[in-house]
C-alpha cells in the first residue's frame, strides 16, 4: 500500500486547483469581511478589489461582494493590510 507504484521518480503534478494540497490547513487566522464597509459590496459596483489584486494565492474573487476560498487561503493577512476601508479583519481559527 506504499507509493512505489505511483509512476513517478520525482515530484510532479498536472495543473489543477490545489496541486500542492489543501493549503488552507496551514492557516492560523482567516480573513473576515465586513460587507457594510467593503467598497464594492457597499456600492454594488465592481470597484477597488485591492484584496483581489494583492492576494498572493489568488483565492479572493473579483466579484461583488469579494469572497475568499478558505480551502486554499493560507491566512497571510495581506488582504487585511491593503484594504483601504478596514473591511477585512483577521480572525483566529480557534474562534
Amino acid at each position: 500500500m506504499g507509493t512505489r507504484n505511483c509512476g513517478h521518480i520525482t515530484a510532479s503534478s498536472s495543473p489543477a486547483v490545489g496541486e500542492a494540497g489543501r493549503t488552507g490547513d496551514w492557516r492560523v487566522q482567516h480573513p473576515q469581511f465586513d460587507y457594510a464597509i467593503c467598497t464594492p459590496a457597499k456600492s454594488g459596483i465592481p470597484s477597488c478589489f485591492r484584496c483581489w489584486t494583492f492576494c498572493p494565492d489568488a483565492v479572493i474573487t473579483k466579484t461583488v461582494p469579494p469572497t475568499v476560498n478558505l480551502e486554499y487561503c493560507k491566512g497571510c493577512g495581506i488582504c487585511s493590510e491593503v484594504c483601504p476601508t478596514g473591511a477585512i479583519t483577521m480572525v483566529s481559527e480557534e474562534n
Binding site: H8, S12, S13
Partner: protein, 417 residues
C-alpha cells in the same frame, strides 16, 4: 575505392590518438557524446574546456545550443532546465564556481536529471588560490551526485563517455573529477574513440518525465512530509519517499558503473571498474587515494617494493556512491595490516573524508586493519614522489607494531608550519 577515399573513411570510423590535456580530452568527449545543450561559466583551471567547446561550436564540428550565462548558478540551472525537457547536457566548473552551484546541485539530483559535469579540481578560497586540491568536489559529496575520479587524460575522456551511460541508466547526475593543472593542463597521448562506436555505446537519452505543451506538468511542486493524492487521485510520494528513491538509485550505481565499464572495455579495449589496483598482491600496507596521487605514488611504491616492503595502491574511482562493500573486500583480499589514505581534502575538524569513509566501511565489514590519514597537496602544494615514499615508509613501520598501538595521528604531508 581509391586509397585516398579509404584513408578518409578510416579516419571517419576509427579511433585516433591525439596529444591532449585532460581539459581538451573532456571537450573531445563531449563532442563524441551527442550533447545537445552546454552551459558553463569559465573558471581557472576549467576555462580551456569552455574555450575548446566554443571553438567546436564556431567551426561547426559540434551541433549544440551553447548558452552563455553570468554565473555558475545560472550555468547549472540552464542544464537542469534543458535536461528536464529531454536534452543531453554538459557543464564544467570547479572551486568557488562549483560552490556557487551548490543549491542547484541538490535540485539536479532531486530532479533525477542525468547531467554530466567535468570538474578540474581546484582549491576553494579563502584565501584565493587557483591551484589543485580536491576540496571543491569533496565538499559536494552529499548533494546526491555520482562522483568519478580520474588519474589521467585518457580516463577523463573515457569516464565522461561512460558518465552519460551511467547517469541515464540510474537517472542521477555525474561529476567527473580530475586534478587541476596536474591533469587539466598536462598534455599526454589520448586515444579518441571512434564516434560511431560511441554513438552505439550511448543510446539516445529518454527523460523520465516527458514535458509536452499538450500534457503540461508542474515539476517539483511543494511536496511535504507525507504522501498525498495528486490531481488524478493517485497516492504520490512525499519528500521522504522521493529521497529514498534517490538513495536506492545511488546504491545500485556501483553495478551500473561496473556494467558501463565492462561494456566500454568490450567496445574500446579499455575496461573500467570501481577501483584500480597497483601491486596489491600480498601487500602489508595499502595506500588508498583518489585521482592523480594514485598514479604519482606508483614510483614510490616501486621503490618500496624493491626494498622488500610489500606496499600496494588502491585507487578509488567511484567515490559517491561510496562502494563500501567492494573496497572493504578489496582491502581484506590483500591481507594487509593497514591502509594509508593520502588525499587532497580534509573534512575540517576531523580528517580526510576518504579516510573516514573507508574506516566506516572496514568497520562495517569486519576488516580489522589500521588506517592512517594523510592530508596532502592542499592549494597546489607539490606532492613529490619522495614525500609519498617517506609517508608510506612511516605507516609501513606500524605493520610490525603490536595490535593496539597502530594508531597514528593524522599527518599534513610537507606542511612547513
Amino acid at each position: 575505392m581509391t586509397s585516398a577515399t579509404a584513408s578518409k573513411n578510416k579516419k571517419q570510423t576509427a579511433s585516433e590518438t591525439k596529444i591532449l590535456t585532460a581539459n581538451y580530452a573532456a571537450a573531445e568527449a563531449v563532442k563524441l557524446c551527442g550533447v545537445q545543450v552546454i552551459s558553463a561559466y569559465p573558471i581557472t583551471p576549467q576555462t580551456p574546456v569552455v574555450e575548446k567547446l566554443m571553438e567546436f561550436v564556431h567551426d561547426g564540428s559540434i551541433k549544440v545550443e551553447f548558452v552563455t550565462v553570468e554565473s555558475e548558478h545560472s550555468a547549472i540551472t540552464v542544464c537542469i532546465s534543458a535536461s528536464a525537457v529531454g536534452a543531453r547536457v554538459f557543464t564544467a566548473s570547479c572551486a568557488n564556481g562549483l560552490a556557487l552551484m551548490h543549491e542547484q546541485l541538490h535540485w539536479a539530483a532531486g530532479s533525477r536529471l542525468p547531467i554530466v559535469m567535468a570538474i578540474p579540481n581546484r582549491a576553494v578560497a579563502a584565501p584565493w588560490n587557483i591551484l589543485n586540491d580536491q576540496q571543491d568536489s569533496i565538499s559536494q559529496r552529499d548533494t546526491g551526485w555520482i562522483q568519478l575520479y580520474c588519474r589521467n587524460s585518457q580516463e577523463v575522456m573515457d569516464s565522461i563517455i561512460q558518465a552519460y551511460r551511467i547517469a541515464e541508466d540510474v537517472m542521477v547526475p555525474v561529476m567527473v573529477c580530475y586534478d587541476g593543472y596536474v591533469l587539466s593542463h598536462t598534455h599526454m597521448p589520448v586515444e579518441v574513440p571512434d564516434p560511431a562506436a560511441v554513438k552505439s555505446y550511448l543510446p539516445d537519452y529518454v527523460p523520465h518525465t516527458i514535458l509536452d505543451p499538450a500534457d503540461p506538468r508542474n515539476i517539483n511542486p511543494v511536496t511535504l512530509a507525507d504522501p498525498r493524492l495528486n490531481a488524478e487521485n493517485v497516492l504520490c510520494h512525499g519528500y521522504f519517499e522521493l529521497r529514498y528513491l534517490l538513495q536506492e538509485a545511488l546504491l545500485r550505481t556501483p553495478e551500473s558503473v561496473e556494467k558501463a565499464g565492462r561494456e566500454f572495455g568490450r567496445l574500446f579495449g579499455r575496461e573500467y571498474g570501481i577501483l584500480d589496483h597497483y601491486r596489491c598482491d600480498d601487500a602489508d600496507l595499502v595506500m588508498v587515494s583518489m585521482g592523480s596521487l594514485a598514479s604519482e605514488a606508483m614510483d614510490a611504491v616501486d621503490r618500496l617494493r624493491d626494498e622488500g616492503k610489500k606496499i600496494g595502491i588502491i585507487h578509488v574511482r567511484l567515490y559517491r556512491p561510496f562502494p563500501a562493500e567492494i573496497i572493504a573486500g578489496a582491502v581484506a583480499e590483500t591481507g594487509c595490516r593497514g591502509v594509508a589514505v593520502i588525499e587532497k581534502d580534509v573534512s575540517y575538524g576531523y580528517e580526510g573524508a576518504l579516510c573516514t569513509d573507508l574506516k566506516a566501511a572496514l568497520f562495517d565489514y569486519g576488516v580489522n586493519v589500521f588506517a592512517h590519514s594523510y592530508i596532502a597537496g592542499l592549494g597546489g602544494r607539490d606532492v613529490k614522489s619522495a614525500e609519498l615514499y617517506d609517508a608510506l615508509s612511516r605507516s609501513y613501520e606500524y605493520c610490525s607494531k603490536p595490535e593496539g598501538s597502530r594508531r597514528k595521528d593524522q599527518e599534513w604531508l610537507n606542511c612547513l608550519i
